[in-house]
């Protein structure tokens, strides 16, 4: 059952610039999706080059959380990437056919590479 999400935020420096890591733990649904949205609007996010949303600790997400992800990646900046390897979140992204908009990376390194690549495309 969805309770309050555990959300840990960490600022890091990557080649692309400052990156905000947001690690989420818990099931995401209508009862707590606002928490996820708030985290993606949190301190430092606006000025970051990218946000890595680590969803490896999310055993369940429904369209409430998916809507938050889709809103986040729609913003022109920062670049938002998601870590969700072989997980229910990855399955949800595939089911909703949004993997082109919200690619799920398998680890932190690849997620940061995704930010760098997206930033390069935008700059170019």
């Amino acid at each position: 059952m969805a309770e309050r999400l555990e959300i840990a935020v960490e600022d890091r420096q990557a080649d692309a610039g400052p990156v905000v890591f947001i690690r989420v733990t818990g099931e995401v649904d209508l009862a707590n999706a606002d928490q996820l949205a708030d985290a993606l609007r949190g301190d430092g996010v606006r000025d970051a080059a990218g946000v890595v949303l680590d969803l490896r600790g999310v055993p369940f997400m429904d369209s409430s959380g998916l809507r938050v992800l889709l809103m986040a990646v729609k913003e022109p900046a920062p670049v938002v990437t998601v870590i969700a390897p072989d997980s229910p979140v990855a399955r949800l992204l595939e089911l909703a056919e949004v993997t082109d908009r919200v690619p799920a990376y398998t680890d932190e390194e690849k997620a940061i590479d995704g930010i760098t690549a997206s930033g390069s495309r935008r700059d170019g």
Binding site: M1, E27, D29, A31, D62, L66, R91, L92, L95, A96
Partner: protein, 139 residues
Amino acid sequence: MAAVTAESPERAELDLELPSHARSVGLAREAVVDLARRAGAPVDEVKLAVSEAVGNAVMHAFRDTAPGAITLQARQEPDRLVVTVADDGRGMSPNLDSPGLGLGVSLITRLALDVRFDSSDHGTTVSMSFPATAGRERV
């Protein structure tokens, strides 16, 4: 929350009444998991579909009206699990101020073997079925 769960070796059923509140989404999901597992139904698909159906009812059924009740029923049949989510709200209608119904409905149609939406001024009922292998073995 009023819950009635009738169980027998041959068939398991679930009948649950929930308030129109966001917390009910998780409660409904939790309630249906055990039945889905015992029925041999795809648990992740059932959980997601129930979450979407109850979430839609919470978000849309009682818009501009007093909060009402949402009923979750599930029953095991020989080769399928039938899950029904019903509310006594205002029925399905477009709401430009609160988009999102489309995404949940789209997911439900992709998750369930078949799905039926019945909507009127007296509420909406979503009936979904999923393949269930446990019942087939007993028949």
